[in-house]
């Protein structure tokens, strides 16, 4: 099944729960650290990222929801040498990787309702990957969809009508046809609003 069909099915499932019975909507600012699959291409950490998310606590311990994310990795590599067979190319490269994880999410929450709630869980879905290399006056771009799993731990701290939330998420996307696998840690901090 193609990634876009996974995506559609997951969001129909997630939205049927989270949108019709949503109790939390919110967003987080996201910083991320590249790991295997990304770090060979871009080794620098990223301070550019955000997630928008919906969450529904279906009982005292379990919550389900969705995440739409965006993490931007970028790096300048001065006078990078690229060799392919009998061709050698030297030039300053500007590398970009825009990742858009789109995940259905399940959480197991500790603590008491209305109180501070540590949680652990996982997301499952796809990540759109746009990798672009600018060298000299030329630009090369590849795009791919990665089937993605994203385990995480975090905490929700009640605040008025919502919560402050922070989480550490490991995002792993399997190898796609045109691009290698991706993996990175993201540290997310933001707000959830709702009942």
């Amino acid at each position: 099944m193609k990634p876009k069909y996974y995506l559609t099915a997951l969001f129909l499932l997630a939205s049927s729960v989270a949108f019709t019975q949503a109790t939390y909507l919110g967003g987080t600012y996201s910083i991320s650290i590249p790991l295997g699959g990304i770090e060979n291409y871009i080794s620098a950490g990223s301070f550019r990222g955000a997630n928008f998310e919906g969450l529904k606590e279906i009982n005292n311990k379990v919550a389900v929801g969705w995440i739409l994310g965006w993490n931007v990795f970028a790096e300048k590599r001065i006078n990078e040498v690229y060799t392919n067979d009998n061709l050698t190319l030297t030039g300053t490269q500007y590398r970009y990787m825009n990742l858009f994880p789109m995940l259905a999410r399940g959480l197991y929450e500790l603590g008491q309702p209305e109180g501070t709630r540590p949680f652990l869980g996982s997301g499952l879905g796809v990540t759109a990957d746009i990798a672009r290399t600018n060298i000299g006056l030329y630009s090369f771009q590849k795009t791919a969809w990665h089937f993605t799993i994203a385990p995480e731990i975090g905490i929700k701290i009640p605040l008025g009508y919502g919560s402050i939330t922070t989480s550490l998420r490991y995002v792993y996307g399997v190898k796609a046809r045109d691009l290698d696998r991706i993996s990175y840690f993201s540290l997310n901090l933001g707000m959830l609003w709702g009942e």
């Binding site: 600012y29 550019r48 009998n86 030297t90 300053t92 060298i135 000299g136």
Partner: protein, 229 residues
């Protein structure tokens, strides 16, 4: 509620700050950041695992004229200001590699010739950056709500965008190494065994241009270690 509002503003500001710049590492690009040096060799002459017939060549010449490659009917407007400099850079690199310049090529044909050609092309780039009225409203009302009146009837409609256009000239210097012994006057094919290309945006002052040309030519030869004798 006040605390929540502060967190909301903080979150929005962090998100906007985090995502507005799409090209975080392309600040202050200099001309030399856009230069590339590309080389390619004929595999009949060299293989990393085996033969290196470049070592069989001893003498060279660099013709004293830079060829300007033009489309049919296009007048030659390419400057010859740097021709002599480029030729000298190529010549000195070949000497550094260990080859000997053939000073009397009419009598003693050289083993190899390195020709220098130049071509240019014009490019026009147009970018448009939209921004949104809601952002304008947010800033005005958040910062000075009591003194500024903003029409907020259509807060999510695209507001003005601004566009920029710029043009640049891309220049390419082409170095071609010819196996002189294999030149067949009856054929129009030139037996190339190695080529180097420098490509970049034309611009900057004279010192900057000569530095870039020198660096690029050096790089073409330095990244071709099989040419060293």
């Amino acid at each position: 509620m006040r605390t929540e509002r502060i967190f909301l503003y903080l979150f929005l500001l962090m998100t906007i700050a985090g995502l507005t710049a799409c090209y975080p590492v392309e600040k202050d690009i200099a001309y030399e950041d856009l230069d590339i040096a590309l080389t390619v060799y004929d595999k009949d002459y060299y293989s990393p695992e085996g033969h290196n017939y470049f070592q069989d060549f001893q003498t060279f010449i660099v013709p004293d004229t830079v060829i300007h490659i033009l489309e049919d009917g296009v007048p030659d407007e390419i400057s010859r200001e740097y021709d002599e400099f480029v030729i000298e850079q190529v010549r000195s690199n070949l000497l550094k590699l260990g080859y000997t310049e053939q000073l009397d090529p009419e009598t003693n044909p050289p083993d190899l010739t390195v020709t220098v050609s130049v071509t240019t092309s014009e490019h026009i780039v147009y970018d448009w950056y939209p921004y949104w009225a809601w952002f304008y409203v947010f800033v005005k009302k958040g910062a000075a709500a009591s003194s500024v009146t903003v029409d907020n009837n259509y807060p999510w409609q695209p507001y003005y965008g601004y566009g920029t256009s710029y043009s640049y000239t891309a220049g390419t210097v082409i170095l071609e190494m010819v196996d002189v012994a294999k030149v067949d006057p009856s054929s129009e094919e030139i037996p190339l065994m190695w080529a180097g290309l420098l490509n970049g945006a034309v611009g900057g002052d004279e010192e900057n241009m000569t530095n870039r040309l020198s660096t690029g030519i050096d790089r073409c030869f330095n990244q071709s270690p099989y040419l060293f004798k």
